[in-house]
Symmetry: D2
Subunit: 369 residues, 4 copies
């Protein structure tokens, strides 16, 4: 009844691997049965043993091959390595006919990401990119409201994703690879969290900016990548936007916020208290919409597990992607709401455009192919 | 490696059964393998099949007996029936040598609850009462701060647990049994949610009031139990308190809030945004403490799964009780932080004292034995 | 064009005197021309000189007489002495045919207050009691909404007025007289701030509780009056309430909050951010109403000076009473919304009932005549 | 004892004139004795009569001349006309030797403003520009904290000033002149409210950006000026910033917010609840600082009228400028904290740079002379 999941990366001590494992468990749709949890085989084995994972592999290549050959091989693999390994691992599993659930961003370089597109299309397999914030029930509701025209014609999109954990020179495993261009990509904050903000805005509005002007900064001496990004956005529709991503914004833990403003109404949602969202129709009192509460629409209600007032959080939003991936695999569905390759490619184009704009002094830059 | 769990009650459509199942899954410590999910055997079977539970029983008595006899029988049973069945079911499993994880309140009558005390003691088995709000990381931190003396000598305890879903005459399965004294007990709001507030205050402060004055009301015509309770509290230590439980408080979804005030500092926590708590030392600026954030103590940190800014919610707090139950069972531990029989009995004495006070016109009433 | 104001009490260093003076100035309706600012004639004179007040008197008695005799005598006197002097001063001016604007509470003893009723009636003069919180625009709007039936039949009234400035043993002039029964009255927190909460609830709901049970405490050793009060309320209409007044509630500056809940909708307002109020219709999303914003009614709009989003505060609410007093005096109006003797007497009865209940162990006590 | 004030503009129905009159009254430092309240002499006279202003003039020129000639002539004039008249009126009064308190922005064109500089210098008179938001006590405290180094080296400045009242095509007197380039200047939102945000950031940080990139939009068809402005900022110090000004941001009444982030700590303040500000030291819990509350510094305390918890608002902040103007005039002081010509010129340069950048497609533009 449950589907079988494998994992590449995510050995002991890795934050995001543990998150994927919980997310996969929450709705009881997945069993984690195989893994290549580290590029160091000994560490991979000890991690697998500690987690009770039956089959441990020394490399992802070996794992893809072996699992594809088994009758009871995994249905999907979760990729939770540093960014530069996302594409090679995804390619191996897609080519082995195994569905892929991959952490974001898609790649450390756009070219790598583009190469994957063809592989994925050929494979006919599901490719999910875990832009987990799009799994929050109120984000689903926001998307539904925008699509239904509740906000009118969109004018403004403001997105912030600000943290402060890199305020000082990086220490620790997490900080190290996330500020190393070779492993994380040339984008720092812009890649690590800016892409989340970009995708969230895209997911809710259904629109992608056509041009941007970006001012990237590395405030901490010696840091090789940006730790703060100011970006102005222009949409083909005439809408305008601003995006701020920062990892030196003292006083902020994980402050992702999205405001969407149309000519009839507006929405305002913040990730750190994700169970409420304000909605204001022009000329009317502001309303506080709650997850699953009065006025919740179908899209939001479809993703909740507990009634209004019983808060769901980060892990539940993440779990929704795993649940929907299971549903899509079972249904053989290719048309689904899940973030995937298109989101990943859009994110890579966003990073590239930011880097290009910033290199050109912050000039306006088209979002390229 | 995982422990085996059975479940009594919690068939399709039951809110709290689904919550227990997710809570048991989140940390990967439990496999749900057996159930008597309904008192109607056909419904029990179809629910078990729908949930992929291997062994379905027609009755809890049959289940306790059969599981005790198996080599691979369940380690613990989760009891999620209406309140009046908690004690008979718990007794059957404890007597069969099986650990019990029981939903609250402990019973519909204090005498039933008292009888269980001896059974549990004799069994040597774990009895967990799922006062899930005590599983929130910041509640653990609050308890630690009070115990350490951060607040000084406690003076005031204010607890509110207010909802509005019973504002009008009850409809639906949930509303029906919760307002039926035969199944829910003589307390309405006071039993269903007041006991949560009472336990939370007790859990954080380490003190139990010695007397109370209660003014219970049934605002909705024809309702057999209270839907609003005003209670004043006195502690032997000289501290004073107020407790408000309501299910007709229009504008509130699940608004549980606890304020504890000492002569040096105070805490303020609200369940609907459980990832922050304010802490104020007298004469200093108010601080916003966050789950896992700056200044978090050991107790809070021990229960978190995601870093600060990545909100955890209701299900994670609930899951912490399941994780700790697994730890306690593995360790053969009887000294643990988990809410259990003592909390349940205290809750029953609270309900009884409220009912007695209210019958006597709201007069001051000692908390009896 | 402006009216002429005198002041008794309020010499240099007195908080509330300065507040009255600003409140009288804001709308340009009053000129402060005379005063007996201190019971110490030298201090009275120096204070008057410092404030540019033309006519300084050595005593209130002398002032009442002299001003009544002048053609250009004061239209009204503001009384801002300690509580026990309110009645004697008010009596002197009323008997001299001068309107009175008096700080609250009305008196330090109910009997004194009752005596004033007859004097006031005989005088035909205006008696305003500056329960200033009733001057806030959103409080006016709340009153209007309740009166219009927007909340349906009222069920619950919850009022808190909590501060922390008396957490430790009192020092300073303010703290001293406010904790001295001879000057402040037998009620401590209950008189100083509890009466504000009581009046606010009465003002908004249009109802006065018929009985209460009060648990008064003096947490600070050696304090002669209560510094914390827990009170449960019953209304003749069947509504119930709770009132909490405290001056030892660490973490609270001046936290007056009123929640009114009916069977159709509810309101929630807090003084420290007085420009917004939440309003929730049962089964609908919570709305944030703003002072002068969308949906503001006539009563609220009549009292604002700046558009929505331009916050008004404590002084403006206070000033509204002065403006309305001027309007009432000019119109010779006796039917006005201003708090007056009835509010003051109700507050004295509230204090007395609390003291009586508390002496009787917190038993239920009728609000007497 | 009080100073004498005149007013140009601000006839009946004008919002900002009424605000200036209240602000001037609050601290009892000014008497309004003369006015040219409208360019229409009849309306000027009727407005003056309605307001009880003794001397009404048909034109500002006549007024400047006549008042300068009187022994009891006005000490200062308040200019509350539409923007294009600020400079001519200011010039007339400065040349007549009368102090000026002028509403913002300084002018409708930079050249006009520059001309004023020399006039003001020659006159030796005070020129106050009522950037009233700089009068809020917590803004004074923020400025003091930044100057003292509490935030460390500044890295980020984020300012938003967003409203929604021009979401649809403008109607009403206010909306009309504010969207008419001839009367308001070529900047729309950028001039009307963007300059407030710009000045506030400058006031608190003590720094002025050296370059900006602006993307101005007129969302409403047929509107001749911008109604939304996105601006990125660069400081010579290496700090970066973003500024968003909008009058079509549905759901916002008057949402001015300033965030300043250094390498040690950050501040966050919002005008609509101006009595609190959050302050976070890196690695420490966020603190809620309150106006006049724990930890308030000298600068904040010097400007408050009521204790913490008794909110002050927009009018009090405005009044502080009037009080300080009186103090400066009395002291013959030219070194004061009051916003003046330098702020006004900076604001004009900001508008010009935004317009220039926007005309050049949003390119980076130096702040010119």
């Amino acid at each position: 009844m449950t589907l079988k999941l494998g994992m590449v990366g995510g050995g002991e001590g890795a934050f995001i691997g543990a998150v994927h494992r919980i997310a996969a468990r929450i709705d009881g749709q997945w069993d984690l049965v195989a893994g290549a949890l580290s590029s160091d085989p000994a560490r991979a084995r000890s991690s697998a043993a500690a987690l009770g994972i039956e089959r441990s592999y020394d490399s992802f290549a070996q794992m893809a091959k072996a699992e594809a050959a088994r009758d009871d091989g995994i249905d999907a693999v979760a990729i939770v390595t540093p960014n530069h390994m996302h594409v090679p691992v995804a390619r191996a599993f897609l080519e082995a006919g195994i569905h892929v659930i991959c952490d974001k961003p898609l790649a450390s370089k756009l070219e790598d990401a583009l190469a994957l597109e063809e592989v994925a299309a050929r494979s006919g397999k599901l490719f999910v990119l875990t832009h987990n914030y799009s799994g929050y029930p109120l984000i689903r509701q926001a998307r539904e409201m925008v699509a239904r025209g509740d906000l009118g014609r969109l004018r403004l999109v403001h997105v912030e994703y600000v943290q402060d954990w890199l305020t000082e020179a990086a220490t620790g495993k997490q900080a190290e690879w996330r500020t190393d261009p070779a492993r994380s990509g040339a984008g720092g904050a812009i890649g690590d969290i800016g892409t989340h903000g970009w995708q969230l805005a895209e997911f809710v509005t259904g629109q992608t900016p056509s041009a941007l002007a970006a001012d990237l900064t590395s405030f901490v001496e010696g840091r090789a990548v940006d730790d703060n990004a100011h970006v102005m956005l222009r949409y083909a529709s005439g809408a305008k936007g601003m995006l701020w991503a920062s990892q030196v914004a003292v006083g902020n833990e994980n402050a992702l916020r999205l405001r969407v403003i149309g000519d009839k109404a507006s929405l305002d949602w913040a990730q750190e208290n994700p169970n409420q969202m304000t909605f204001t129709r022009f000329g009317q009192p502001k309303q506080i919409l709650t997850r699953g509460g009065a006025g919740a629409g179908d899209a939001g209600l479809a993703t909740i597990r507990t009634p209004a007032g019983h808060p769901e959080g980060y892990l539940e939003g993440f779990a929704t992607l795993y649940r929907e991936a299971a549903q899509a695999i079972r249904a053989g569905d290719t048309a689904h709401v899940l973030p995937g390759l298109a989101d990943g490619l859009s994110g890579m184009r966003f990073i590239n455009a930011c880097l290009k704009s910033s290199r050109n002094g912050g000039s306006w830059t088209e979002l390229g192919g």
